[in-house]
Symmetry: C2
């Protein structure tokens, strides 16, 4: 029987950060990570292994940080947990006793049970599994026309990458626009038009009826009866928490299948924590159960879990998922932090929105200038920033993070109006026309 | 006698934003701007008119926003103010009565009185004056070797631009390193080495004794006796507040020559406000008088001044200059927000610093990846972030703004450790190795 202080199950973003944080904070404790994969894929980098990168080996989460710190990495699979004895058993018959356990089992691609043809040859999903993805990559040369089902971030990014390497790509999205759940319509539309201009065929507003074919994929049937021929189908229809182990171990799940956790990332079971895609999330503003899965959120949760293992701290709590993310198509990026206008309205907030479009250089004549648009979603009664959306160039990710920090710290538009920002001709908008502050100003004038 | 509600003297960053904000907030008020220039230069863009831009016409602050809003722009010069009668007189004999006055007269290049040879032909400064700069540009083809005196942002950026168009450039800085007042030594050194590798000759740690020549510049003498030949000398030895009009009008100045203002940007004289380079500044953390002049700070001050013209608001105050800025050399940018380590120590803060170097893409194999380093300066007793420095690629400006907002909102490293940030492979660092949070973590482990 191996005895460890901290056992982490799973080695992706949450597992990695949980291990680094636990061992970093408690160097004398024995910290072990058990994971299935010998090489772990960088989750957000997966779409890029098909085009921008040469292969999946260029998209590996390095183990050096863990190894240097003294975290033990075991390639194995935990098959059962006894939460009373605080032990686990692995597929390779290892028994481990833990003092504290962190579940970071992640998520699995959604392959809906109702979908006819889902198990035909050449139907794929995008899991965080190197062997599976390498197998798919090795088959790519056989496919001319590929249908991608689901226009979320993964679907859009995979479509763009496959298009880039010369595939004929059709993206099918049942919502009126791709990225329509992540962004407000005008921003989703901007991204959609860009994706189309880059060569991806987009079919919107209609769901998938079935996948057609005898043994192999021959095409798909849409809900409106249209048939589309294809050599392969990629299902990017969302992800579901990987909860089998937790379920079998009687660790409570919420109604969406996520492991129940509190703000310290503790499950209701003594000494068992969870973090990342498998762990319950609540929205920062609505306080409702959230299904948003992001590597960045996973890392924040993992840090919180690991910092509360042996003593709780009220200043190291997780206050709810804000949902800060971005995507990129060529030179253009799209970012969002917090609530979109449509979600805020649906949830019943009394809001006011403001928007400003400028340019991310000053003067705009400087090379590589890109339009930069910021939209703010603000609570009317308090002026508090609930959300923000950005269209821009390569600084979009960090500008979205400025908004994310503003949301987290409870800033209002009044704070933004008097806020100091830094600018430089080559790398930011002008201080006199900084879209974030101008968007706040546009609200201030009507609030 | 012309009668206006709001009169703004000066048309650069502060004047522009003051006018836009005043008229935006009070559409029915008559808002007039009196400025000397027919075309106003974008101040931070000036170094780029010599190389990256074709000419100064590509670096103009547009008047369209002002005109569309209904601000009256008068090209003239105010030569006196009667603060009792609330009137001004202009060079072209216009008399204007104001209800509220905003002084936004900016700053002028420092040309030290002690400097022998400062008035020789081919000695230049970098004022915000299009005609002067155009004249200098027209002479550039005559110069082979140019000496730039002063390695602050303007000196460094001008040196790099002149080097880019094939000039032999020598930059002289009396501090041990260029940018040494803005950045801590290791970051200044990184920038210095990059500037040298790009072809600029840098002479450090020695001041300028005199400029040599009969009628025209022939060279300079350094304080250590060295003589350097040159065809032209550019003095970038800082800027001084343009306070002549205020002084003549008995509007109080502080000991550094800035117009005295309170947190609402009011001068001690009834109904007279000031904003931008000419207005007094206090450091956000040290609360000392500051001489930092930034267009971005000027814009924030101008917004505050204009929002407090007719009624004061405690939520629209200016809480002190944080000093958030960045510079750029090729693909590399350097940013700073708040206190550097050396300034914090000099001022007597009990601090602890943390640093993390990562990469601004994930995986790092993605194209255009750039190293990204964040250094945090943190108050030991509270964990509060006093400052941050960044080396990185094109997202450096906005990442520096993330730190700037963290300082303004009083975030601590504990807040950062549990903070949510958004990431994307192509435009940010990895969530598991996001340098800002890892830098906070490195402090947390030793605090």
């Amino acid at each position: 029987m191996v005895k460890v202080d901290v056992l982490i199950i799973g080695g992706s973003a949450a597992g990695l950060v949980a291990a680094l944080t636990a061992k970093g904070e408690h160097p004398s404790k024995r910290v072990m990570m058990i994971r299935k994969e010998s090489k772990v894929m960088i989750p957000c980098g997966i779409p890029y292994i098909f085009g921008s990168l040469e292969n999946s080996d260029q998209n590996i989460l390095p183990d050096a940080g863990l190894v240097n710190l003294g975290v033990e990495i075991i390639m194995d699979e935990v098959i059962s947990i006894d939460t009373h004895l605080q032990t686990v058993k692995t597929a390779r018959s290892m028994d481990v006793t833990y003092d504290r356990l962190i579940l970071a089992t992640g998520s699995l691609p959604n392959k809906p049970a109702w979908l006819k043809g889902k198990d035909l040859e050449n139907v794929f999903v995008i899991p965080k599994n190197k062997d599976y993805l390498d197998h798919f990559s090795s088959l790519l040369s056989q496919f001319e026309h590929i249908i991608v089902v689901g226009g979320g971030f993964i679907g859009v990014e995979v479509s763009d990458e496959l298009n880039k390497i010369g595939k004929k790509v059709t993206l099918i999205e049942k919502e009126p626009h791709i990225l329509g759940l992540a962004f407000d319509e005008e921003i989703a539309l901007d991204a959609e038009q860009l994706l189309i201009s880059r060569g991806v065929k987009v079919i919107n507003g209609v769901g998938l009826q079935s996948i057609q074919g005898d043994k192999k994929v021959e095409g798909v049937e849409l809900c409106d009866g249209r048939m589309i021929e294809a050599d392969a189908v990629i299902l990017s229809m969302g992800y579901v928490p990987n909860n089998e182990l937790a379920k079998a171990s009687e660790i409570p799940l919420n109604e969406k299948g996520f492991i129940v956790v509190d703000e310290y990332m503790r499950t209701p079971i003594m000494n068992v924590f969870a973090a990342g895609d498998c762990a319950e999330k609540r929205d920062f503003s609505t306080k409702k159960i959230s299904t948003t899965m992001l590597a960045s959120t996973a890392c924040a949760e993992a840090r919180v879990a690991a910092m509360n293992l042996f003593h709780l701290s009220t200043i190291r709590r997780f206050s709810g998922t804000i949902g800060i993310y971005a995507t990129n198509l060529g030179d253009t990026s799209y970012g969002v932090a917090g609530l979109t206008e449509s979600v805020a309205l649906k949830e019943g907030f009394d809001i006011i929105c403001g928007k400003f479009q400028g340019i991310d250089r000053h003067p705009g004549k400087l090379s590589n200038a890109h339009k930069q648009m910021v939209k703010l979603v603000v609570a009317k009664e308090s002026g508090r920033i609930l959300g923000g959306l950005v269209i821009g160039g390569l600084s979009t990710g960090e500008l979205t993070n400025v908004i994310g920090i503003a949301i987290q710290t409870g800033m209002t538009i009044y704070d933004l109006l008097t806020a100091q920002i830094g600018t430089h001709p080559r790398i930011t908008a002008s201080p006199a026309a900084y879209p974030l502050i101008k968007a706040a100003e546009s609200i201030y004038h009507i609030i």
